[in-house]
Amino acid sequence: MVGSSARAPLQPFLRAGSRDPLRGGDAANKKPVLVFDGVQKVYRQSSGADMHVLRGVDLEIERNEFVFVTGPSGAGKSTLLKLVYRSETVDDGRILFCGRDIARLTDDSIPFLRRNLGIVFQDFKVVPTWTVAQNVAITLEVIGLSTRLIRQRVAVAIERVGLAGRGGDRAGVLSGGEQQRVAIARAIVGEPALVLADEPTGNLDPALAIDILGLFEEIHAQGTTVMFATHDRTLLDVRPRRILVLDEGRVTDVATGLDHFSDDIAIDAEDETSAPRAIVAPTRLRRVG
Protein backbone atom coordinates (compact mmCIF):
# COMPACT_ATOMS: atom_id res chain seq x y z
CA MET A 1 0.00 0.00 0.00
CA VAL A 2 1.64 3.16 -1.18
CA GLY A 3 0.91 6.60 0.21
CA SER A 4 0.08 8.79 -2.73
CA SER A 5 0.72 12.13 -1.08
CA ALA A 6 3.89 14.09 -1.74
CA ARG A 7 6.45 14.34 1.05
CA ALA A 8 4.80 16.44 3.72
CA PRO A 9 6.05 18.18 6.86
CA LEU A 10 5.20 16.65 10.22
CA GLN A 11 1.96 18.01 11.60
CA PRO A 12 2.05 20.65 14.35
CA PHE A 13 1.03 18.43 17.25
CA LEU A 14 4.32 16.63 16.96
CA ARG A 15 6.39 19.80 17.31
CA ALA A 16 8.90 20.34 20.09
CA GLY A 17 7.56 19.84 23.57
CA SER A 18 4.68 17.60 22.55
CA ARG A 19 6.33 14.51 23.76
CA ASP A 20 3.45 12.12 24.05
CA PRO A 21 0.51 13.33 22.02
CA LEU A 22 -1.39 10.17 22.96
CA ARG A 23 -1.51 10.97 26.64
CA GLY A 24 -4.91 11.95 27.87
CA GLY A 25 -8.25 11.31 26.21
CA ASP A 26 -9.95 8.03 25.37
CA ALA A 27 -9.74 8.61 21.63
CA ALA A 28 -5.99 9.15 21.80
CA ASN A 29 -5.51 6.06 23.98
CA LYS A 30 -7.11 3.86 21.32
CA LYS A 31 -4.68 4.89 18.56
CA PRO A 32 -1.68 2.68 17.99
CA VAL A 33 1.62 4.46 18.56
CA LEU A 34 3.17 2.86 15.53
CA VAL A 35 1.72 1.27 12.40
CA PHE A 36 3.63 -0.30 9.55
CA ASP A 37 1.44 -0.63 6.49
CA GLY A 38 2.86 -2.67 3.62
CA VAL A 39 6.39 -1.44 4.23
CA GLN A 40 9.06 -2.47 1.76
CA LYS A 41 12.76 -1.81 2.09
CA VAL A 42 15.31 -2.84 -0.49
CA TYR A 43 19.06 -2.35 -0.47
CA ARG A 44 20.87 -2.26 -3.77
CA GLN A 45 24.07 -4.27 -3.44
CA SER A 46 27.36 -3.48 -5.18
CA SER A 47 26.79 -6.46 -7.46
CA GLY A 48 23.61 -4.79 -8.67
CA ALA A 49 21.32 -7.33 -7.06
CA ASP A 50 18.53 -6.14 -4.78
CA MET A 51 18.42 -7.28 -1.18
CA HIS A 52 14.84 -7.20 0.13
CA VAL A 53 15.20 -6.48 3.82
CA LEU A 54 11.54 -5.87 4.51
CA ARG A 55 8.78 -7.30 2.36
CA GLY A 56 5.33 -5.91 2.86
CA VAL A 57 5.62 -5.59 6.64
CA ASP A 58 2.40 -4.88 8.50
CA LEU A 59 2.39 -4.37 12.25
CA GLU A 60 0.87 -2.26 14.97
CA ILE A 61 2.35 -1.24 18.29
CA GLU A 62 -0.21 -0.13 20.82
CA ARG A 63 0.35 2.48 23.46
CA ASN A 64 2.16 1.27 26.55
CA GLU A 65 3.28 -1.98 24.94
CA PHE A 66 6.64 -3.62 25.43
CA VAL A 67 7.57 -5.38 22.22
CA PHE A 68 10.62 -7.44 21.41
CA VAL A 69 11.84 -7.42 17.81
CA THR A 70 13.97 -10.42 17.16
CA GLY A 71 15.38 -12.53 14.36
CA PRO A 72 18.68 -13.84 13.05
CA SER A 73 21.53 -11.46 12.31
CA GLY A 74 20.85 -9.50 9.15
CA ALA A 75 17.13 -10.08 9.37
CA GLY A 76 16.37 -6.37 9.36
CA LYS A 77 15.78 -5.56 13.03
CA SER A 78 17.92 -2.45 12.94
CA THR A 79 16.46 -1.46 9.59
CA LEU A 80 12.99 -1.67 11.04
CA LEU A 81 13.94 0.72 13.83
CA LYS A 82 15.88 3.01 11.48
CA LEU A 83 12.76 3.46 9.40
CA VAL A 84 10.94 4.66 12.51
CA TYR A 85 13.48 7.34 13.35
CA ARG A 86 14.04 8.06 9.66
CA SER A 87 17.67 7.18 9.40
CA GLU A 88 16.47 5.13 6.44
CA THR A 89 13.53 5.69 4.10
CA VAL A 90 10.96 3.18 2.93
CA ASP A 91 10.79 2.09 -0.66
CA ASP A 92 7.06 1.43 -0.43
CA GLY A 93 4.31 1.53 2.16
CA ARG A 94 3.47 3.77 5.07
CA ILE A 95 4.67 4.17 8.61
CA LEU A 96 2.26 5.93 10.90
CA PHE A 97 3.63 7.31 14.13
CA CYS A 98 0.88 8.68 16.35
CA GLY A 99 -1.31 8.70 13.28
CA ARG A 100 1.10 10.61 11.02
CA ASP A 101 2.84 9.16 7.99
CA ILE A 102 6.50 9.64 8.82
CA ALA A 103 7.66 7.87 5.68
CA ARG A 104 6.80 11.02 3.76
CA LEU A 105 8.43 13.52 6.10
CA THR A 106 10.65 16.24 4.68
CA ASP A 107 14.19 16.47 6.02
CA ASP A 108 13.27 19.63 7.94
CA SER A 109 10.65 17.73 9.94
CA ILE A 110 12.79 14.79 10.94
CA PRO A 111 14.25 16.56 14.00
CA PHE A 112 10.72 17.09 15.29
CA LEU A 113 9.96 13.39 14.84
CA ARG A 114 13.07 12.40 16.79
CA ARG A 115 12.14 14.69 19.67
CA ASN A 116 9.19 12.39 20.24
CA LEU A 117 11.35 9.28 20.23
CA GLY A 118 13.96 7.93 22.59
CA ILE A 119 16.66 5.87 20.91
CA VAL A 120 19.20 3.57 22.55
CA PHE A 121 21.97 1.87 20.60
CA GLN A 122 24.25 -1.10 21.01
CA ASP A 123 27.31 1.17 20.99
CA PHE A 124 25.75 3.60 23.48
CA LYS A 125 26.53 6.71 21.41
CA VAL A 126 27.36 8.92 24.35
CA VAL A 127 29.82 11.79 23.93
CA PRO A 128 32.85 10.74 25.99
CA THR A 129 34.13 14.29 26.51
CA TRP A 130 30.81 15.47 27.93
CA THR A 131 29.67 14.84 31.48
CA VAL A 132 26.83 12.47 32.27
CA ALA A 133 24.53 15.43 32.86
CA GLN A 134 25.53 17.11 29.60
CA ASN A 135 24.88 13.92 27.67
CA VAL A 136 21.41 13.61 29.16
CA ALA A 137 20.60 17.31 28.97
CA ILE A 138 21.13 17.57 25.22
CA THR A 139 17.71 15.99 24.65
CA LEU A 140 16.06 18.87 26.47
CA GLU A 141 18.36 21.56 25.12
CA VAL A 142 17.25 20.88 21.56
CA ILE A 143 13.66 21.61 22.51
CA GLY A 144 14.64 24.84 24.22
CA LEU A 145 13.71 24.23 27.84
CA SER A 146 15.02 26.59 30.49
CA THR A 147 18.29 25.80 32.24
CA ARG A 148 16.55 25.34 35.59
CA LEU A 149 14.00 22.90 34.20
CA ILE A 150 16.69 21.00 32.32
CA ARG A 151 18.73 20.65 35.47
CA GLN A 152 15.73 19.30 37.40
CA ARG A 153 14.67 16.78 34.80
CA VAL A 154 18.19 15.60 34.11
CA ALA A 155 18.68 14.90 37.81
CA VAL A 156 15.48 12.85 37.90
CA ALA A 157 16.44 10.89 34.79
CA ILE A 158 19.94 10.16 36.07
CA GLU A 159 18.48 8.91 39.32
CA ARG A 160 15.97 6.71 37.51
CA VAL A 161 18.75 4.85 35.73
CA GLY A 162 20.73 4.34 38.90
CA LEU A 163 23.46 6.93 38.33
CA ALA A 164 22.52 9.38 41.06
CA GLY A 165 25.45 11.56 42.00
CA ARG A 166 27.37 10.79 38.81
CA GLY A 167 26.09 13.75 36.81
CA GLY A 168 29.42 15.55 36.92
CA ASP A 169 31.48 12.57 35.80
CA ARG A 170 32.83 12.51 32.28
CA ALA A 171 31.03 9.86 30.27
CA GLY A 172 34.30 8.55 28.88
CA VAL A 173 35.42 7.20 32.27
CA LEU A 174 32.24 5.17 32.85
CA SER A 175 31.94 1.43 32.33
CA GLY A 176 29.95 0.02 29.41
CA GLY A 177 26.92 -0.65 31.53
CA GLU A 178 27.04 2.82 33.01
CA GLN A 179 27.38 4.42 29.60
CA GLN A 180 24.34 2.50 28.44
CA ARG A 181 22.45 3.80 31.46
CA VAL A 182 23.43 7.32 30.42
CA ALA A 183 22.08 6.59 26.95
CA ILE A 184 18.84 5.32 28.44
CA ALA A 185 18.53 8.39 30.64
CA ARG A 186 19.05 10.54 27.54
CA ALA A 187 16.35 8.57 25.75
CA ILE A 188 13.74 8.90 28.48
CA VAL A 189 14.40 12.39 29.86
CA GLY A 190 12.24 13.90 27.14
CA GLU A 191 9.31 11.58 28.03
CA PRO A 192 9.04 10.29 24.48
CA ALA A 193 6.01 8.58 23.00
CA LEU A 194 8.14 5.60 22.00
CA VAL A 195 11.52 4.26 23.05
CA LEU A 196 13.48 2.34 20.42
CA ALA A 197 16.25 0.10 21.68
CA ASP A 198 18.51 -1.36 18.99
CA GLU A 199 20.44 -4.25 20.56
CA PRO A 200 21.10 -2.21 23.71
CA THR A 201 22.67 -5.18 25.49
CA GLY A 202 24.78 -6.34 22.54
CA ASN A 203 28.05 -5.03 24.02
CA LEU A 204 27.33 -6.04 27.60
CA ASP A 205 27.88 -9.23 29.57
CA PRO A 206 24.83 -11.39 30.36
CA ALA A 207 24.38 -10.13 33.92
CA LEU A 208 24.49 -6.51 32.82
CA ALA A 209 22.18 -7.32 29.94
CA ILE A 210 19.55 -8.53 32.40
CA ASP A 211 20.05 -5.36 34.47
CA ILE A 212 19.55 -3.18 31.44
CA LEU A 213 16.47 -5.10 30.40
CA GLY A 214 15.16 -4.60 33.92
CA LEU A 215 15.70 -0.89 33.50
CA PHE A 216 13.68 -0.85 30.30
CA GLU A 217 10.95 -2.77 32.06
CA GLU A 218 10.84 -0.20 34.83
CA ILE A 219 10.57 2.52 32.22
CA HIS A 220 7.79 0.62 30.53
CA ALA A 221 6.01 0.12 33.85
CA GLN A 222 5.79 3.88 34.18
CA GLY A 223 3.88 4.14 30.94
CA THR A 224 6.44 4.30 28.13
CA THR A 225 6.01 2.23 24.98
CA VAL A 226 9.15 0.25 24.22
CA MET A 227 10.41 -1.55 21.10
CA PHE A 228 13.40 -3.67 22.04
CA ALA A 229 15.39 -5.24 19.22
CA THR A 230 17.60 -8.16 20.23
CA HIS A 231 18.86 -11.50 19.07
CA ASP A 232 19.56 -12.60 22.64
CA ARG A 233 17.12 -15.41 23.42
CA THR A 234 17.81 -15.28 27.15
CA LEU A 235 16.25 -11.84 27.28
CA LEU A 236 13.16 -12.99 25.41
CA ASP A 237 12.53 -15.62 28.08
CA VAL A 238 12.81 -13.33 31.10
CA ARG A 239 9.16 -12.31 31.05
CA PRO A 240 6.16 -12.91 28.76
CA ARG A 241 6.23 -10.21 26.15
CA ARG A 242 4.93 -9.69 22.69
CA ILE A 243 7.59 -10.75 20.19
CA LEU A 244 7.91 -9.73 16.56
CA VAL A 245 10.07 -12.17 14.66
CA LEU A 246 11.79 -10.91 11.55
CA ASP A 247 12.87 -13.45 9.03
CA GLU A 248 13.51 -13.12 5.29
CA GLY A 249 11.93 -9.70 5.28
CA ARG A 250 8.67 -10.66 6.94
CA VAL A 251 7.39 -10.08 10.43
CA THR A 252 5.67 -12.74 12.44
CA ASP A 253 3.86 -11.71 15.58
CA VAL A 254 4.16 -14.41 18.20
CA ALA A 255 3.55 -14.91 21.91
CA THR A 256 6.36 -15.83 24.27
CA GLY A 257 7.20 -19.35 25.30
CA LEU A 258 7.22 -20.59 21.71
CA ASP A 259 10.18 -21.64 19.68
CA HIS A 260 10.64 -18.44 17.75
CA PHE A 261 13.54 -19.58 15.68
CA SER A 262 11.99 -22.73 14.35
CA ASP A 263 11.06 -22.95 10.69
CA ASP A 264 7.37 -23.07 11.43
CA ILE A 265 5.75 -21.14 14.21
CA ALA A 266 3.02 -23.14 15.94
CA ILE A 267 0.02 -21.60 17.60
CA ASP A 268 -2.76 -23.22 19.59
CA ALA A 269 -5.94 -22.39 17.69
CA GLU A 270 -8.13 -23.56 20.62
CA ASP A 271 -6.63 -21.22 23.22
CA GLU A 272 -7.69 -17.69 22.34
CA THR A 273 -5.86 -16.14 25.28
CA SER A 274 -2.47 -17.40 24.17
CA ALA A 275 -2.96 -16.80 20.45
CA PRO A 276 -1.29 -13.76 19.05
CA ARG A 277 -3.33 -11.01 17.55
CA ALA A 278 -3.74 -11.75 13.86
CA ILE A 279 -1.95 -8.76 12.44
CA VAL A 280 -0.65 -10.77 9.56
CA ALA A 281 -1.18 -14.27 8.31
CA PRO A 282 2.28 -15.28 7.11
CA THR A 283 2.49 -18.50 5.20
CA ARG A 284 4.75 -20.01 7.81
CA LEU A 285 2.12 -20.17 10.52
CA ARG A 286 0.88 -23.76 11.07
CA ARG A 287 -2.19 -24.53 13.13
CA VAL A 288 -2.01 -27.36 15.63
CA GLY A 289 -4.63 -29.14 17.60
Partner: protein, 291 residues
Protein backbone atom coordinates in the same frame (compact mmCIF):
# COMPACT_ATOMS: atom_id res chain seq x y z
CA UNK B 1 21.06 30.90 22.77
CA UNK B 2 22.68 30.43 26.17
CA UNK B 3 23.02 26.72 25.37
CA UNK B 4 24.73 27.56 22.10
CA UNK B 5 27.10 29.92 23.87
CA UNK B 6 27.86 27.24 26.45
CA UNK B 7 28.56 24.67 23.73
CA UNK B 8 30.70 27.21 21.84
CA UNK B 9 32.78 27.80 24.97
CA UNK B 10 33.19 24.05 25.44
CA UNK B 11 34.26 23.75 21.83
CA UNK B 12 36.81 26.56 22.12
CA UNK B 13 38.32 24.97 25.20
CA UNK B 14 38.27 21.44 23.78
CA UNK B 15 39.89 22.50 20.47
CA UNK B 16 42.02 25.37 21.75
CA UNK B 17 45.12 24.31 19.80
CA UNK B 18 43.19 24.25 16.55
CA UNK B 19 41.65 27.63 17.25
CA UNK B 20 44.98 29.10 18.35
CA UNK B 21 46.56 28.08 15.05
CA UNK B 22 43.70 29.66 13.16
CA UNK B 23 43.93 32.85 15.21
CA UNK B 24 47.64 33.18 14.43
CA UNK B 25 46.93 32.80 10.70
CA UNK B 26 44.17 35.38 10.89
CA UNK B 27 46.37 37.76 12.89
CA UNK B 28 49.10 37.62 10.23
CA UNK B 29 46.56 38.45 7.54
CA UNK B 30 45.08 41.29 9.55
CA UNK B 31 48.53 42.71 10.37
CA UNK B 32 49.18 43.05 6.64
CA UNK B 33 45.82 44.70 6.14
CA UNK B 34 46.26 46.90 9.18
CA UNK B 35 49.71 48.01 8.01
CA UNK B 36 48.29 48.97 4.61
CA UNK B 37 45.50 50.90 6.31
CA UNK B 38 48.03 52.65 8.54
CA UNK B 39 50.07 53.80 5.55
CA UNK B 40 46.96 54.98 3.70
CA UNK B 41 45.70 56.77 6.79
CA UNK B 42 48.96 58.67 7.28
CA UNK B 43 49.30 59.45 3.58
CA UNK B 44 45.82 60.90 3.72
CA UNK B 45 46.78 63.04 6.70
CA UNK B 46 49.92 64.15 4.89
CA UNK B 47 47.95 65.12 1.81
CA UNK B 48 45.54 67.09 3.95
CA UNK B 49 48.38 68.79 5.76
CA UNK B 50 50.27 69.81 2.60
CA UNK B 51 47.13 70.60 0.72
CA UNK B 52 46.09 73.10 3.36
CA UNK B 53 49.52 74.79 3.52
CA UNK B 54 49.66 77.52 0.90
CA UNK B 55 53.41 77.43 0.49
CA UNK B 56 55.44 78.79 -2.41
CA UNK B 57 59.08 79.22 -3.26
CA UNK B 58 59.96 82.19 -5.51
CA UNK B 59 63.27 81.37 -7.20
CA UNK B 60 65.28 84.48 -8.18
CA UNK B 61 67.46 84.85 -11.26
CA UNK B 62 71.22 84.92 -10.85
CA UNK B 63 72.39 88.49 -10.45
CA UNK B 64 68.92 89.87 -9.59
CA UNK B 65 69.39 93.41 -8.28
CA UNK B 66 69.11 93.49 -4.48
CA UNK B 67 66.76 96.47 -4.70
CA UNK B 68 64.31 94.51 -6.83
CA UNK B 69 64.52 91.57 -4.42
CA UNK B 70 63.90 93.90 -1.48
CA UNK B 71 60.93 95.42 -3.27
CA UNK B 72 59.43 91.98 -3.93
CA UNK B 73 59.86 90.98 -0.27
CA UNK B 74 58.31 94.23 0.91
CA UNK B 75 55.37 93.92 -1.48
CA UNK B 76 54.68 90.37 -0.40
CA UNK B 77 54.72 91.34 3.27
CA UNK B 78 51.98 93.86 2.55
CA UNK B 79 49.65 91.24 1.10
CA UNK B 80 47.16 90.30 3.86
CA UNK B 81 46.89 86.68 2.68
CA UNK B 82 50.63 86.13 3.09
CA UNK B 83 51.53 84.99 6.62
CA UNK B 84 55.30 84.86 6.35
CA UNK B 85 58.03 85.88 3.89
CA UNK B 86 61.63 84.68 4.17
CA UNK B 87 64.58 85.50 1.89
CA UNK B 88 67.07 82.66 1.45
CA UNK B 89 70.43 83.52 -0.08
CA UNK B 90 72.36 80.81 -1.98
CA UNK B 91 74.46 80.24 1.13
CA UNK B 92 71.34 79.95 3.26
CA UNK B 93 69.76 77.50 0.80
CA UNK B 94 72.90 75.35 0.77
CA UNK B 95 72.96 75.32 4.55
CA UNK B 96 69.28 74.27 4.76
CA UNK B 97 69.70 71.43 2.30
CA UNK B 98 72.95 70.31 3.93
CA UNK B 99 71.27 70.39 7.35
CA UNK B 100 68.21 68.40 6.17
CA UNK B 101 70.47 65.77 4.62
CA UNK B 102 72.04 65.12 8.00
CA UNK B 103 75.49 66.32 6.93
CA UNK B 104 75.74 64.33 3.73
CA UNK B 105 79.39 64.88 2.53
CA UNK B 106 78.29 64.60 -1.11
CA UNK B 107 76.12 67.66 -0.72
CA UNK B 108 78.94 69.49 1.06
CA UNK B 109 80.98 69.27 -2.14
CA UNK B 110 78.24 70.92 -4.19
CA UNK B 111 79.25 74.58 -4.93
CA UNK B 112 77.16 77.43 -3.56
CA UNK B 113 76.35 78.64 -7.08
CA UNK B 114 74.16 75.56 -7.62
CA UNK B 115 71.68 76.82 -5.04
CA UNK B 116 69.52 79.73 -6.33
CA UNK B 117 68.39 82.48 -4.02
CA UNK B 118 64.70 82.28 -3.16
CA UNK B 119 61.90 83.96 -1.31
CA UNK B 120 59.85 81.48 0.77
CA UNK B 121 56.20 82.44 1.19
CA UNK B 122 53.62 80.96 3.57
CA UNK B 123 50.04 81.76 2.67
CA UNK B 124 47.21 81.51 5.21
CA UNK B 125 45.45 78.11 5.07
CA UNK B 126 42.03 79.59 4.48
CA UNK B 127 43.13 81.39 1.32
CA UNK B 128 41.53 79.74 -1.72
CA UNK B 129 43.76 78.04 -4.29
CA UNK B 130 42.66 80.51 -6.94
CA UNK B 131 44.04 83.49 -5.00
CA UNK B 132 47.30 81.64 -4.40
CA UNK B 133 47.54 81.04 -8.15
CA UNK B 134 46.81 84.68 -8.78
CA UNK B 135 49.71 85.76 -6.54
CA UNK B 136 51.93 83.18 -8.20
CA UNK B 137 50.95 84.49 -11.63
CA UNK B 138 51.89 88.06 -10.72
CA UNK B 139 55.20 86.98 -9.20
CA UNK B 140 56.12 84.93 -12.24
CA UNK B 141 55.79 88.02 -14.42
CA UNK B 142 58.45 89.95 -12.47
CA UNK B 143 61.82 90.32 -14.25
CA UNK B 144 63.87 89.22 -11.22
CA UNK B 145 61.94 86.00 -10.79
CA UNK B 146 63.23 82.80 -12.42
CA UNK B 147 60.20 80.72 -11.42
CA UNK B 148 57.63 80.03 -8.70
CA UNK B 149 57.14 76.59 -7.11
CA UNK B 150 53.80 76.13 -5.29
CA UNK B 151 54.39 72.37 -4.62
CA UNK B 152 51.08 71.79 -6.33
CA UNK B 153 52.76 69.19 -8.46
CA UNK B 154 54.15 67.57 -5.33
CA UNK B 155 50.78 67.42 -3.61
CA UNK B 156 49.17 66.23 -6.83
CA UNK B 157 51.73 63.46 -6.99
CA UNK B 158 51.08 62.71 -3.35
CA UNK B 159 47.34 62.53 -4.08
CA UNK B 160 48.10 60.17 -6.93
CA UNK B 161 50.26 58.01 -4.66
CA UNK B 162 47.49 58.08 -2.08
CA UNK B 163 44.94 56.96 -4.65
CA UNK B 164 47.20 54.14 -5.75
CA UNK B 165 47.83 53.21 -2.14
CA UNK B 166 44.11 53.17 -1.41
CA UNK B 167 43.45 50.88 -4.37
CA UNK B 168 46.30 48.61 -3.32
CA UNK B 169 44.91 48.52 0.22
CA UNK B 170 41.46 47.65 -1.16
CA UNK B 171 42.93 44.83 -3.24
CA UNK B 172 44.90 43.61 -0.22
CA UNK B 173 41.71 43.78 1.85
CA UNK B 174 39.89 41.60 -0.68
CA UNK B 175 42.72 39.06 -0.58
CA UNK B 176 42.79 39.12 3.22
CA UNK B 177 39.01 38.67 3.41
CA UNK B 178 39.18 35.70 1.09
CA UNK B 179 42.04 34.21 3.09
CA UNK B 180 40.18 34.72 6.38
CA UNK B 181 37.04 33.07 5.01
CA UNK B 182 39.05 30.12 3.73
CA UNK B 183 41.05 29.66 6.96
CA UNK B 184 38.03 29.96 9.23
CA UNK B 185 35.88 27.74 7.02
CA UNK B 186 38.54 25.02 6.93
CA UNK B 187 39.10 25.26 10.67
CA UNK B 188 35.41 24.87 11.46
CA UNK B 189 35.02 21.96 9.05
CA UNK B 190 37.93 20.27 10.79
CA UNK B 191 36.43 21.02 14.20
CA UNK B 192 33.13 19.55 13.08
CA UNK B 193 34.84 16.41 11.81
CA UNK B 194 36.70 15.99 15.08
CA UNK B 195 33.45 16.38 17.00
CA UNK B 196 31.47 14.05 14.80
CA UNK B 197 30.25 12.06 17.81
CA UNK B 198 28.63 15.17 19.27
CA UNK B 199 26.92 16.02 16.02
CA UNK B 200 25.62 12.48 15.62
CA UNK B 201 24.13 12.51 19.12
CA UNK B 202 22.55 15.89 18.57
CA UNK B 203 20.97 14.68 15.34
CA UNK B 204 19.58 11.59 17.04
CA UNK B 205 17.84 13.58 19.77
CA UNK B 206 16.24 15.90 17.24
CA UNK B 207 18.61 18.84 16.84
CA UNK B 208 17.95 21.03 13.82
CA UNK B 209 20.71 22.22 11.48
CA UNK B 210 20.62 25.63 13.18
CA UNK B 211 21.03 24.07 16.63
CA UNK B 212 24.05 22.08 15.47
CA UNK B 213 25.71 24.89 13.52
CA UNK B 214 25.16 27.89 15.83
CA UNK B 215 27.89 27.04 18.37
CA UNK B 216 30.37 26.54 15.54
CA UNK B 217 29.47 29.88 13.99
CA UNK B 218 29.91 31.50 17.40
CA UNK B 219 33.32 29.86 17.71
CA UNK B 220 34.37 31.14 14.30
CA UNK B 221 33.12 34.65 15.14
CA UNK B 222 35.24 34.68 18.28
CA UNK B 223 38.18 33.34 16.27
CA UNK B 224 37.92 36.20 13.79
CA UNK B 225 37.54 38.87 16.45
CA UNK B 226 40.49 37.55 18.48
CA UNK B 227 42.61 37.31 15.33
CA UNK B 228 41.89 40.92 14.43
CA UNK B 229 42.49 42.10 18.00
CA UNK B 230 45.81 40.29 18.12
CA UNK B 231 46.74 41.90 14.80
CA UNK B 232 45.94 45.37 16.12
CA UNK B 233 48.05 44.71 19.21
CA UNK B 234 51.02 43.51 17.12
CA UNK B 235 50.64 46.41 14.72
CA UNK B 236 50.52 48.91 17.58
CA UNK B 237 53.64 47.37 19.10
CA UNK B 238 55.52 47.57 15.78
CA UNK B 239 54.26 51.09 15.07
CA UNK B 240 55.38 52.52 18.38
CA UNK B 241 58.72 50.70 18.14
CA UNK B 242 59.39 52.23 14.72
CA UNK B 243 58.07 55.62 15.77
CA UNK B 244 60.28 55.76 18.84
CA UNK B 245 63.36 55.30 16.64
CA UNK B 246 62.40 57.39 13.62
CA UNK B 247 60.01 59.97 15.02
CA UNK B 248 62.25 63.03 14.57
CA UNK B 249 63.31 62.00 11.05
CA UNK B 250 59.78 61.33 9.89
CA UNK B 251 58.45 64.55 11.35
CA UNK B 252 61.27 66.59 9.84
CA UNK B 253 60.85 64.94 6.45
CA UNK B 254 57.11 65.19 6.14
CA UNK B 255 56.23 67.91 8.60
CA UNK B 256 53.74 65.54 10.15
CA UNK B 257 53.77 63.35 13.25
CA UNK B 258 52.85 59.77 12.15
CA UNK B 259 49.74 58.53 13.91
CA UNK B 260 48.34 55.10 14.71
CA UNK B 261 44.89 54.08 13.48
CA UNK B 262 42.08 56.00 15.18
CA UNK B 263 39.87 54.13 17.72
CA UNK B 264 36.98 53.81 15.27
CA UNK B 265 39.23 52.19 12.70
CA UNK B 266 40.52 49.77 15.33
CA UNK B 267 36.97 48.87 16.37
CA UNK B 268 36.02 48.51 12.74
CA UNK B 269 38.91 46.13 12.15
CA UNK B 270 37.95 43.96 15.13
CA UNK B 271 34.28 43.98 14.10
CA UNK B 272 35.28 43.05 10.55
CA UNK B 273 37.32 40.18 11.96
CA UNK B 274 34.30 38.93 13.89
CA UNK B 275 32.00 39.32 10.92
CA UNK B 276 34.37 37.52 8.59
CA UNK B 277 34.75 34.78 11.17
CA UNK B 278 30.98 34.33 11.31
CA UNK B 279 30.73 34.28 7.52
CA UNK B 280 33.63 31.85 7.23
CA UNK B 281 32.03 29.51 9.76
CA UNK B 282 28.62 29.68 8.13
CA UNK B 283 30.04 29.12 4.65
CA UNK B 284 32.32 26.33 5.81
CA UNK B 285 29.40 24.47 7.37
CA UNK B 286 26.81 25.17 4.71
CA UNK B 287 26.96 21.63 3.40
CA UNK B 288 25.99 20.22 6.81
CA UNK B 289 22.48 19.09 6.01
CA UNK B 290 22.47 15.33 6.48
CA UNK B 291 20.12 14.13 9.18
Amino acid sequence: MSGSIERAKRGLVAEWRLHALSVVSLAVAFVCLGAALLVVFNLHALKDRWGRTGRASVYLKDGAPPAQVEAIVSALKNIPEVKEVRYLSPADARAVVFGQSGGDPTLKAVPQEAFPASIEIDVAPEVPESEVQSIVGKLSALPAVEGVETYGTWTARLASVLQGGTMAAAALAAIVFGAVLAVVGSTMRLALTRRRAEVEVMRLVGASNAFVKTPYVLESTIQGAIGATAAVAVLALLFFLVKSRLDADLTGLFGLDPMFLPPLAVLGLVATGGLLGAMGGALGLRRLTAV
